[in-house]
């Protein structure tokens, strides 16, 4: 039988007149990585905060995290989970080791156990030589790694990460991905939000694409691609009249997505797309396989919402 680390049924949440989350349901299997993908304001963060009691939820629906309901057993969930919030919130006035020592008290870890755990975590996140550094001396990537180390303090069964790699360079990003994969292999369930398609593709077993508080599409990365978008796309830069190069019969086989400067022509048949390129004299074009970003834009639309 599949075990679920998280079960969410029909959850809604509004702030005043804004519906942040609408009727959302999902299940996260234990020991897998589940990703929320969506534009800013899609309700990803709000949904995550409801899981560990940082946000209250609407009246209906139910949430179960690791066997507990956050409305009544917030503490148990927090004890068993680690949270990496969107904003860095380390204690600037303390150094690296003190930040972690203070945090270990919240879990009532005995001093000795805390010290060895902290040594291990600093090693794991490759921060051992920064033990006595002040927080302001750390780069953005180091601060992020330290926050992940802090979230791992109590050896969590569930790790919740809100945009863990936003604004970081590729090296740090890959290091963090590696660590998250290791954690998953050792039995940590991971819930992550991200804007980065390649991050979702690299880490997640299941992805939920959210928009305006609702779940739009869900499935494994491969499934999402196979079910929701054509296999290939021809991207043409500049204003080109497609009608000039393709007749009506061909146009019917294509899905066309136009922005001011770029035309994207989607089709399963790459030979057909390739034959079109022959007629694009002098235009810049790029023929490639579709990726999650294409699924994402198709699901959430191209127009910006008021929060982006």
């Amino acid at each position: 039988m599949t075990q679920f680390a998280i079960t969410v049924k029909d959850i809604s949440k509004s702030f005043g007149k804004v519906n942040a989350v609408r009727d959302l349901s999902f299940e996260v299997e234990a020991d897998t990585c589940y990703g929320f993908l969506g534009p800013n304001g899609a309700g990803k963060t709000t949904m995550m905060k409801m899981l560990y009691g940082k946000c209250t939820r609407g009246e209906n629906g139910s949430i179960n995290v690791l066997g507990y309901d956050p409305a009544s057993d917030e503490l148990a969930i927090k004890y068993l989970s680690g949270v990496v919030p969107q904003d860095n919130n380390l204690d600037d006035e303390l150094d690296v080791i003190s930040n972690l020592m203070v945090y270990s008290r919240f879990y009532a870890l005995p001093r000795k156990a805390a010290t060895s755990r902290i040594d291990y975590l600093l090693g794991f996140m490759e921060l051992s030589d920064k033990r006595t550094a002040r927080i302001r001396e750390l780069s953005g990537g180091m601060q992020r790694r330290l926050i992940i180390a802090r979230a791992l303090m109590n050896n969590p069964k569930l790790l919740i990460l809100d945009e863990p790699t936003t604004g970081l360079d590729p090296q740090v990003r890959h290091l963090i991905w590696d660590k998250l994969r290791q954690l998953k292999r050792h039995g940590t369930t991971i819930l992550i939000t991200t804007h980065y398609m390649e991050e979702a593709f690299a880490l997640c077993d299941t992805i939920l694409i959210m928009d305006k508080g609702a779940g739009m599409l869900r499935g494994s990365p491969a499934e999402l691609l196979a079910k929701n978008v054509e296999k290939h796309v021809l991207e043409i830069t500049g204003s080109h009249s497609l009608e000039a190069i393709a007749d009506g019969a061909i146009l019917q086989k294509l899905r066309i997505d136009r922005t001011q400067e770029t035309t994207r022509v989607y089709c399963d048949d790459d030979q057909l797309l390739r034959s079109l390129t022959g007629r694009l004299e002098g235009a810049h074009y790029f023929l490639r396989q579709t990726n999650l970003e294409d699924v994402f834009l198709k699901a959430t639309g191209r127009a910006l919402n008021e929060k982006q």
Partner: protein, 263 residues
């Protein structure tokens, strides 16, 4: 998933201690710049009075010399100011700018635990600041010791009173500048109308009831009684006031501030 252990998280006392410990660590990190001013401030105050102002005030106040009268008052104003700053500017900065609370609330601590931990910490600072004043007063022979040792404990409760008041105000405040109204409209008048610098019996009759309403009056009266060793039954009313104030204002402060943390 089912979990058999009913309470797999630290008990209440450990959670409150965790919050307190965080504040303690941050405060003691800069022990010199944080620890010295509480001793310097009363020193400067007493020097000013002793060297200058005191010469003009020869009348005894409630049976005390002026320097004794003022000194025992300062024991409490120190606790008042530190708790007020801690839970207005301090709390607001932790909540809105540094986002420290967001980090803490991801650990097994509820918003209530966090706020109550905050109040206990402000009480601790009240204790420490009263203690610092006591040290200075003792050095100058203004207070005789065994009796004065009780003053920091009253300082603790004064710290609690002003922290719950400050947290209640903080729960309403949207920009940090609004605290200026609280300090010039509430805390500063407290300094003059609660019997710190002159006895409230000297106030016009129509202002005296007002002096009885504000919290500092009761702390100051208790402290003077303790330091002079003159106890009477009315002091029970002061104690009752202090306890009731902490519980009632504290209840609303926690309730309102919680909504700023968990929404």
């Amino acid at each position: 998933m089912k979990n058999s252990k009913p309470y797999p998280y630290p008990p209440l006392a450990r959670r409150l201690f965790g919050v307190w410990f965080r504040h303690m660590r941050v405060y003691t990190k800069n022990i010199f710049s944080n620890g010295l001013p509480p001793f310097l401030e009363p020193l400067i105050f007493l020097a000013g009075v002793g060297l200058g102002l005191g010469k003009y005030i020869t009348q005894s106040m409630e049976g005390l010399t002026y320097i004794e009268f003022l000194g025992t008052g300062l024991l409490m104003t120190a606790a008042m100011f530190t708790a007020s700053f801690e839970c207005t500017f301090g709390t607001f900065i932790r909540m809105e700018f540094e986002k420290v609370y967001d980090g803490m609330l991801a650990a097994p601590i509820t918003a209530n635990n966090l706020i109550i931990g905050e109040i206990i910490w402000a009480g601790t600072k009240g204790f420490f600041f009263s203690f610092a004043v006591l040290c200075v007063l003792t050095c100058f022979g203004i207070i005789s010791l065994p009796r004065g040792l009780l003053a920091p404990f009253i300082g603790f409760f004064t710290g609690l009173m002003f922290s719950v008041m400050a947290l209640l105000v903080t729960s309403f405040v949207r920009t940090i500048n609004h605290f200026n109204f609280y300090f010039s409209g509430f805390i500063s008048p407290m300094f003059f109308f609660s019997g710190v610098v002159f006895p409230i019996s000297n106030l016009p009759a129509y202002i005296r009831p007002f002096a009885e309403i504000i919290p500092l009056t009761h702390s100051v009266r208790l402290t003077r009684a303790v330091c002079a060793g003159q106890y009477n039954m009315y002091l029970l009313l002061d104690m009752l006031y202090i306890i009731a104030f902490i519980l009632v204002i504290g209840f609303f402060a926690v309730k309102r501030l919680k909504k700023r943390l968990v929404f």
